[in-house]
Amino acid sequence: MSFQTSLKRWVPYVALAVAPAFALADSDTEKLSKDPKNWAMQAGGLANQRYSELKQVNKDNAKNLQVAWTFSTGVLRGHEGGPLVIGDTMYVHSPFPNKVYAIALEDQRIKWKYEPKQDPAVIPVMCCDVVNRGVAYANGKVFLQQADTTLVALDAKSGKEIWKVKTGNPKIGETNTNTPHIFKDKVLTGISGGEFGVRGRITAYDINTGKEVWKAFSTGPDNEMLIDPAATMTWTDGKMAPVGKDSSLKTWQGDQWKIGGGTTWGWYSYDPALNVVYYGTGNPSTWNPRQRPGDNKWSMTIFARDLDTGKARWAYQMTPHDEWDYDGVNEMILADVKVKGKMHKALVHFDRNGFGYTLDRVSGALLVAEKFDPAVNWATHVDMKSGRPQVVAAYSTDKNGPDVNSKGICPSALGTKDMQPATYSPKTGLFYVPTNHVCMDYEPFKVEYTAGQPYVGSTLSMYPAPDSHGGMGNFIAWDAGTGKIVWSKPEKFSVWSGALSTAGDVVFYGTLEGYLKAVDNNGKELWKFKTPSGIIGNVNTWEYKGKQYIGVLSGIGGWAGIGLAAGLQNATDGLGAVGGYKELAHYTELGGVLTVFALPGK
């Protein structure tokens, strides 16, 4: 760090010292999220649990849920994320062009609307639809991470811009889909573009000024990753040990790490007691593994970093030398979990690679790594001593080599679960997980890198898991202490919506056909409602004037639904990313709508 940078970093602290420091230094987000009447963060709270203490809607009356009101975002394409509710106001967003609406809960009047001016050149470089996973809120500001990498803070009362900052460069394929994450006095954001050879990182900004506080890359020299070779730990030979010097550089050939991916578009979490932020990194670029020999660290990694400095406490690489596009970005859920009789402050993560991981989040020690779909076949198991998956040779696209079609790999590149976040109920101690049940053929080929051009290098074909129930998804309950599936509810399509669990013993999730479903803690379906379009958004809940509401965005799109827009009725077999999904066209069409539910009466 240069002297100039450190001087700049001190200025806001000096200024704050004269003011009532605590109130200004920290955001009110944590406090707001503890009031179950609000839904103040995209994941409900800092721990990413997507759990609500509200219980007016319960397993006995959920069957009576009905539509309270609806709202069109006026945008087609995939609607991910969900609405925030703070007090009497809702903040809801749309995919590109990333509109934001503030809605009065009293009469559903639009208080203000914000629509950024973005260069449409960003549309073609967004890999899997122009989705956005929602806004964040802190200290009277609404934060929007635009597709074109601009992070903007809006006045929550007026929708006027307070500050904005450019976090990346779309000209080299960098875009954004993630929600901003507010932890304490910082707003953290990531980057997308693993299919364009970008170099992943997360960046922390001051919520009041938009000044960059720190930036940590996923690949490259130790100082640029904020890794201390002697102090940053990783699971090694059955225990935690320092990562050592040049832990990333040693695992790449030449300069490939500069275009090595490791993007960061998932759901981060934060433990205030440890002051540590947790997040995952995505696939190494390209998808042709032969072009990047080595473990490709620290792609496909769970990172634990000090929130104030960004310094890495520990890192764990789930899929060394990825050969299947199993991004490690999925949500990091923090919970207390008992493993082999001992309680741990744990981190639970359902990876694209099909393994459900439980780690001690204080030390980073690996506790559990088990398949959360029996169809997973690319690895026999995770060796608990080395922490490495044991790859089955027949499914190794590196071993089979370029221009060879490796067939029958489970899961597909969509993962056993993609970014659609799971929920944890502290009441039952179980995780409820939306999953994909899809396999693939994968044929890598050699590609040249050109800045801003696709850098994929593999042709894929996806289909429902063979010799199973024929559907492409399951909604499951998971015991993270033992690594076992407790129950599994088959679904016709991938479950691509974020789930919600509640103190009312009701668990909610949406389906690609467009059903919002309520199930009890045993997976028994209590109620369902067909919303206007397929659901890839997350289910949220809040209370206003004594009444509990459930809200979800529908609007098919995203990777799974991207094929709906045109021509699918003419399609034949073997369609790549959407082959198995063509049937969806019989159920739903595009269109973004928020549907809000409540019990009748009052």
Binding site: I123, V125, C128, E195, Q453, T459, A566, G567, G574
Partner: protein, 135 residues
């Protein structure tokens, strides 16, 4: 490498000309050569490789049948070659079609990409992997 390509081009040009000559009357020549639907001339093969390298199937479908982007099986029946080249090189940005004039591979293979997609549109070239006609 360069000499060999040039040589192959001469041979193929002759092949296309002969194919054209053998058809009756003023039937249009095709910009591709294909045998059994999946064996093509070297240039058309490079067109397919370009299609694959740019991940065009992400928007246009693995069989060019259209996804978020339009069906190229249909579009290539309507677009002139110049319109096609203009669209690929300069994009239709607001509709999500990138400009590929920054890609050396696309610029060098634009005619071959056209040949491949024309063959797909005509139904003469089958979807999926292709191989080169033996010399």
């Amino acid at each position: 490498m360069k000499t060999r390509t040039t040589h192959a081009m001469i041979v193929l040009a002759a092949g296309v000309w002969m194919a054209g000559a053998s058809t009756s009357g003023a039937a249009a020549q095709t910009p591709y050569q294909v045998v059994d639907g999946n064996t093509v001339d070297a240039q058309t093969l490079n067109g397919w490789r370009t299609w694959r390298a740019m991940a065009c199937e992400r928007c246009h479908g693995a069989q060019q049948e259209g996804l978020v982007g339009p069906s190229l099986v249909a579009s290539l029946k309507v677009l002139t070659k110049d319109e096609f080249k203009n669209t690929v090189l300069h994009g239709r940005i607001k509709l999500g079609m990138p400009n590929f004039d920054g890609s050396k591979q696309v610029v060098e293979n634009i005619d071959h990409l056209y040949a491949y997609l024309k063959g797909r549109s005509d139904g003469a070239i089958k979807p999926g992997r292709l191989q080169e006609i033996a010399k």
